[in-house]
Amino acid sequence: MKQKYERPTIRKMNTGLMNKFGTRTDFDPVETIDGVQVKSLVAEYGSPVFVLSEKQIRRNYQAAVRSFKTRYPKVQFAWSYKTNYLNAVCRVFHQEGSWAEVVSGFEYHKALGNGVAGNQIIFNGPDKKEADLTLAVENHSLIHIDHYDELYLLIDICKRINKTAKVAIRVNFDTGVYPIWDRFGFNYENGQAWAAINKIITAENLELVGLHCHIGTFMLSTAAYSVAATKLCDLAMRCKMELQNPVQYLDLGGGFPSTNTLKGAYLPGVDTVPSVEDFAEAITNTILNFGFAADELPLLILESGRVLIDDAGYLVGSVLANKRLSDGRRATILDFGINILFTSNWYDHKISVAKEAGQYTEETVLFGPLCMNIDVVRESITLPLLERGDQVVVHKVGAYNMTQWMQFINMRPAVVLIDMQGKSHQIRKPETLAYLEMMEEIPEYLK
């Protein structure tokens, strides 16, 4: 019986101060995802492959809803389509009771296709086409106005089709977190938001039903949400007292972080990121203490995306090659890179091996497969010794990767959902050359 092989390697020992926080190497292999063998997923769907856990999605959703509903009487979540708009994913959220939050015409149509009632679709964003707005008015969707041009366009549309639109305005403000996202919506401090509200109130065919904000993304401060909630509550109270138009809801948007570790962060995300409970406490305390009568408390809407799905997503890939760089550093080339793992631009993703490995580790650079120098998955990571063909599992990739991925040099891979019973389903096929060329046309003279 021959001994288990591991390639020979040495590591220089450095003297100096120890890192008092320590950095643990994740030796533990991830051989299964929700009970399904990683090896069998690759055999069935190829490598790389995105894998989503339905169990974890539902767990995240239910925990987030519980965090808010145990603190505030009227809460509604609306699934942020741009975070992951694969229909199977959206339908899991809608089954759980989530509305849809969309930011483009095609997302709006996707929500309708997924069976969401028109009046449960929130239409956000600066780019709403006239035809999409018209449809949204007819469907009684909640239209969150981003700028004056949109406001006037909406007034025109409503006049033309003789319908009333249910609208809110997106408000931006200084919450103590910079830069302020003032490119979206109307500013609170300079009075623009109040002016827009007055304009809506005086418009015949617009009904102001809510107020909306979205103060940032991957927010690490709960205090910013308290400030945001205070300012929205102030506007809501003025709508009631000065304009006799109480709003039905306050939409605090999204922006809650997942537990990924941001690049440059000293400590891992799991140790530093506030929980949904912390955000819920900050937001609901502010609204409850603002002075609304108990029976006039507005509905609280949340548009969370990332925090509900990031840790439900995995990317399984394989080692293409090992090499040594000119400065002696180890480099490992993987079959996925920034083309499909867009979030490697923001995070130091946790990456595990997919089979039992030795305890000896080495520091390596992880490169993707693209013929581009920028295709770096991790600039430095300590991993057990990998060989060509070995599988790795990237954690917490459920948010944004399956919407922001690029078809560049390589095709986009399959996406698989593991259901509540541990059965895997392909929810997006891997792309093919035929799919890619489907949209191309060749002029006659080049045929």
Binding site: K2, Q3, K4, Y5, E6, R7, P8, T9, I10, R11, K12, M13, N322, R324, G328, G358, Y360, L385, E387
Partner: protein
């Protein structure tokens, strides 16, 4: 491929270069190869022993051997 004469190694993979003060750790197979090298084994003999004792394809080991020699060279442990 010879180790420098003054390099000290231990069975459990500790390597010390008294000329520079550098010390290294190595995994089990790296330590085993170092042991063969110290006792004067030729490249062919060492490769043969490893291929006999370990579950590895010759091509794979050939690649890893070259990388290992590069590491030893980078670490200034080889007598070139």
């Amino acid at each position: 491929m010879k180790l420098k004469a003054n390099i000290a190694t231990s069975e459990n993979g500790f390597i010390f270069n008294p000329a520079t003060g550098d010390s290294f750790t190595s995994n089990a197979i790296a330590a085993e190869i170092l042991g063969y090298m110290k006792s004067g084994g030729s490249e062919e003999e060492i490769k043969k022993k490893i291929l006999e004792n370990y579950d590895v394809e010759p091509n794979q080991f050939e690649r890893d051997w070259d990388d290992y020699m590069l590491q030893l060279k980078e670490a200034n442990l080889l007598d070139l």
